[in-house]
Amino acid sequence: MPQTTIYVAPRLAGTLGTIPPAVATVELARLFGRSAALAGVSLTIEIGRTVGLVGPNGAGKTTLLRLCATAIRPSYGSLAIDGIDAQEHPELIRGRAVYLSHATGHYDDLTALENLRFAATMFGWGEREGDPVVREALETVGLAFVAGARVRTFSAGMRKRLALARVLVARPSLLLLDEPHAALDSDGMALVDRLIGLWHEAGVTVLVASHQADRVASMADATVRLEGGLVAEVSGAGVSQGPVGATARPRVAVVGMDR
Amino acid sequence: MTDVEFVIAGYGVILGGIAAYVALLLRRLRIAREALDRAAGSPPPDAPR
């Protein structure tokens, strides 16, 4: 088993020295055009927990992950990662919350090593200190043998492994994995499980959206089931669900209405 | 065209244009107010775009 080091973002002390929850949302909603991808989610996830996010397609799993990663802005409601409000200071959350998307986001004309080195620089590793980190990550995800090959030639599974390597190069406090097992062979899936275990041990909060409900349930402290953009059910430890009003409140920016 | 015709065309289009825009604006305002009352009143799921 290749040696894998997990790097974690420094802990933020909340007010009065308490540890803020990793994720805290109040009636979080997001629209795309006029369809409500997320209709109103009030969740609190404690730090260090591994949480499974399950539900049918279109339930809002990916939207919730992208909101937590600050990839998209909330339409309504509020969201705080490690106590940082996502609307006011998304820049402070970037880097702490790392998102593994379906789209692996690599540059086809660059080699695996070049893509990963670029990611390392972006995550703040210097040229020299980043190199061993990059090489070890490639080793861990089993892509060392194609380090010099262009990503254009990679299969979907290899691209997903490179995306996993990118997560290993980051220093997250919260991981948002969107169907990490997808496109991977059995070894790849085992790799994902091993990594999730390592992240759990290192105290990183992991939110895993997956259709492998049973696989996720066995590793997760808690499971959240989403349906139609709402929380249908929460089970397990470390995750609690808040109330969701029957009607959403218009945003302040719009309210100052003069008929 | 004589000078006067150009002047008439000049003033006509500009003042006429303003008048047309005013009419359009007032109509759109009326429609918007009705739509808002409908939307704010009893919002059917697919309120008119």
């Binding site: 009030s42 249908a232 929460v234 029957a246 218009p250 209405m257 | 002047v7 303003i18 305002l29 918007a32």
Partner: protein
């Protein structure tokens, strides 16, 4: 309603200014009656540029405060600005054709600047139509409005230098240059129409702003109804959707 009074005053002012400019003021000694178009042309051009300046400031306001009211003001200012810029171009042609024999005068820096302004405005409005998410639309529009407004002085300088620096024949040959019969009346007519147009512009802007706000509110209601519909449809027993708080 305050703006109703403004509207009424603006209407009277425009009619009076038009009558004054068309009939009271004597024709220009060189350009004859054709010169009368200048009053509406100059008024429109000035309001076009004013609108874009206002839109840029409102855009900045949105980027700073993230309040959609700034966005509504920017949108309204550009729409009204495009209208007056189009009038300015039309006026320029209706004045240029009789006096200098051509509809489009490449030598006239103001005409070129106004044309680019029109293009910038149309680009802004098209950009808004192609975006659906209100906040993203507002951010994009604010940036485009800001860049456009910053470009206007550069355009102005470059076009003036472009024509002025090389000592080719200036487009106003002496025989055709303005020579007001009664300079006092000429200036009065110009200022009168300018004021009338500015009042009209202000009224149009207020009304258009109200319309923009109404449309934002409607969009908001539709968005909220979508969310509330999704919440109401939550059939899952465990769904923690409370009864309406009342």
């Amino acid at each position: 309603m305050k703006s109703r009074v403004l509207g009424f005053v603006a209407l009277l002012a425009v009619i009076a200014a038009a009558i004054f400019g068309l009939f009271v003021v004597p024709a220009d000694l060189h350009q004859g009656d054709a010169q009368r178009v200048m009053y509406v042309h100059v008024g429109s051009a000035w309001l076009g540029e004013l609108s874009f300046g206002l839109a840029a400031l409102a855009g900045l306001g949105y980027l700073w405060r993230r309040d959609l009211r700034f966005d509504a003001l920017a949108h309204s200012a550009v729409e009204v600005g495009v209208l007056f810029t189009a009038f300015a171009i039309w006026g320029g042609m209706m004045w240029g054709r009789p006096v200098w024999g051509v509809f489009w005068q490449w030598e006239d820096p103001r005409l070129a600047t106004t044309a680019l302004l029109l293009a910038l405005g149309i680009g802004y409005l098209l950009l808004r139509r192609l975006s659906d998410d209100p906040t993203r639309r507002a951010s994009r529009a604010a940036v485009v409005g800001l860049i456009a407004a910053l470009d206007i002085p550069i355009i102005h300088f470059s076009v003036i230098w472009w024509r002025g620096l090389h000592q080719g024949p200036t487009f106003i040959d002496p025989a055709k240059s303005l020579k007001a019969a009664v300079p006092m009346l000429f200036v009065a007519a110009l200022l009168f129409m300018l004021t009338a147009f500015t009042l009209t512009w202000a009224w149009l802007l207020i009304r258009r702003y109200q319309l923009a706000r109404l449309e934002t509110r409607i969009e908001e209601e539709v968005r909220l109804s979508r969310i509330n519909a999704a919440r109401a449809a939550a059939t899952a027993p465990g769904g923690a959707v409370e009864e309406p708080a009342g």
